[in-house]
Symmetry: C2
Subunit: 246 residues, 2 copies
């Protein structure tokens, strides 16, 4: 890299923070890590870390995700194999957001299927899935998320809620093969509403390219055997899934 006068620009630290969402036990949950050091020592925070000198922002986010969870996000244009969806969310750069120094954080959003167990990576002092509602409530053990992470999480949740309206992204929360009912429960957990199972079924099976039947069936949810589907190639839902009034 050619030399450049470092006094000509103010130096910043650049980090990536991750909003990793999944649906567990009928609730929208986010990944939180316990901070081992000051500031906010002992408080919960979003996973994240410094961007390395030679990696792209998305690479940095994927690396941090793998370090924390073992998940390998899939590029959007790859075949629909099991794996998380990753996209850039927004960038947070308030001068006072980190008391130590000027840090600009590029937040990313990850949508993942329910994972067997959160596998703590390098920092094993504490990793957990927590319901978003808990993490954003006023008194999470009297200690809300560190830094501005509550706001970042809220933005990520809002993005997920709106994106599943007009895209097929909700399938990122499901295992490779899933039933229409399982997909509906994802929508219900993310939106926090109840949907009519019959109209939902018609809607998703009637949208070309959204779901492709695998041929198999399952009774893992009880009741009559349900067809198994995998995510189709379509990414945009037109017309969109309508979110009931709140």
């Amino acid at each position: 890299m050619p030399p450049y006068d470092p006094s000509a620009f103010p130096p910043f630290a650049v980090t990536v923070d991750l909003v990793v969402l999944t649906v567990r036990h009928h609730a929208l949950c986010a990944l939180a890590v316990r901070r081992g050091e000051s500031p906010f020592q002992g408080r919960w925070a979003l996973p994240g870390g410094f961007v390395r000198p030679d990696e792209d922002l998305e690479q940095a986010a994927a690396r941090e995700l793998a370090e924390e969870t073992g998940l390998q996000p899939q590029p959007d244009d790859a075949a629909p194999v099991p794996g998380a969806h990753l996209e850039q969310l927004a960038t947070y750069g308030d001068p006072k957001r980190d008391p130590r120094m000027r840090v600009v954080s590029v937040a990313h959003l990850v949508l993942a299927p329910d994972l067997p167990a959160p596998r703590p990576g390098g920092d094993a002092s504490g990793v957990r899935w927590a319901p978003v509602e808990t993490l954003l409530s006023r008194d999470e053990d009297q200690s809300p998320l560190a830094f501005d992470h509550a706001g970042i999480l809220a933005d990520g949740v809002e993005r997920a809620r709106s994106k599943i309206e007009y895209s097929s992204l909700a399938t990122a929360f499901c295992p490779q093969e899933f039933t229409v009912g399982e997909l509906r429960r994802v929508y219900e957990a993310v939106w926090g509403v109840a949907l009519d199972p019959r109209n939902f079924h018609r809607k998703v099976t009637g949208t070309p390219g959204f779901l492709v039947p695998t041929g198999g069936t399952t009774t893992r949810q009880g009741g009559r055997p349900a067809q198994l589907f995998s995510a189709g190639g379509a990414t945009l839902l037109n017309p969109p899934m309508l979110r009931p009034e709140v």
Copy 2:
């Protein structure tokens, strides 16, 4: 600011770049500045600059906008007075996007009404409104936009195109008072399609809170006098404006 070991993190330069869009002469146009120095000397680029040590990202974007155009963007929750809309677009941090050093750029999107004349600010060597189509075409004087700015501009245009579907943001392209026909021509220019004037009229006047009549009329577009409106308080359009198939 408390001290922090600078060797613990790699230093980055952080900039803001601006995608400033307006509608002029029935075409969607973006603000471009001529670069006075290397690299890409003499090429067109998006306006932008370094974030200062003590300002927020949005403040930096607003400051650069004012320096380049004299526009004062309005906070979204302010009364609907004339002025531009500003929002964060996305962040670009490819390690090789600036040949001199590692630069992370937080791009912002500005939607502005047609301005009397682009007022060159500090850097007067060249500022112009250019049709987006021209700036993104393969041979803009055999010299496309500098750095990765063509991609940033394309992302900004795509964001504007989709946001006017489900929000009232298209009014940000209009003067304080405007007619339904003028608003329709904004949609037509941004989407590059023709809309049925009659159905459009019904749609926008029938959506509560979108438009509020000012009482006046104008014949500045010729023909029968048209009612003047200003932007109403509503920001979300439900149901959305439907973009015809392309």
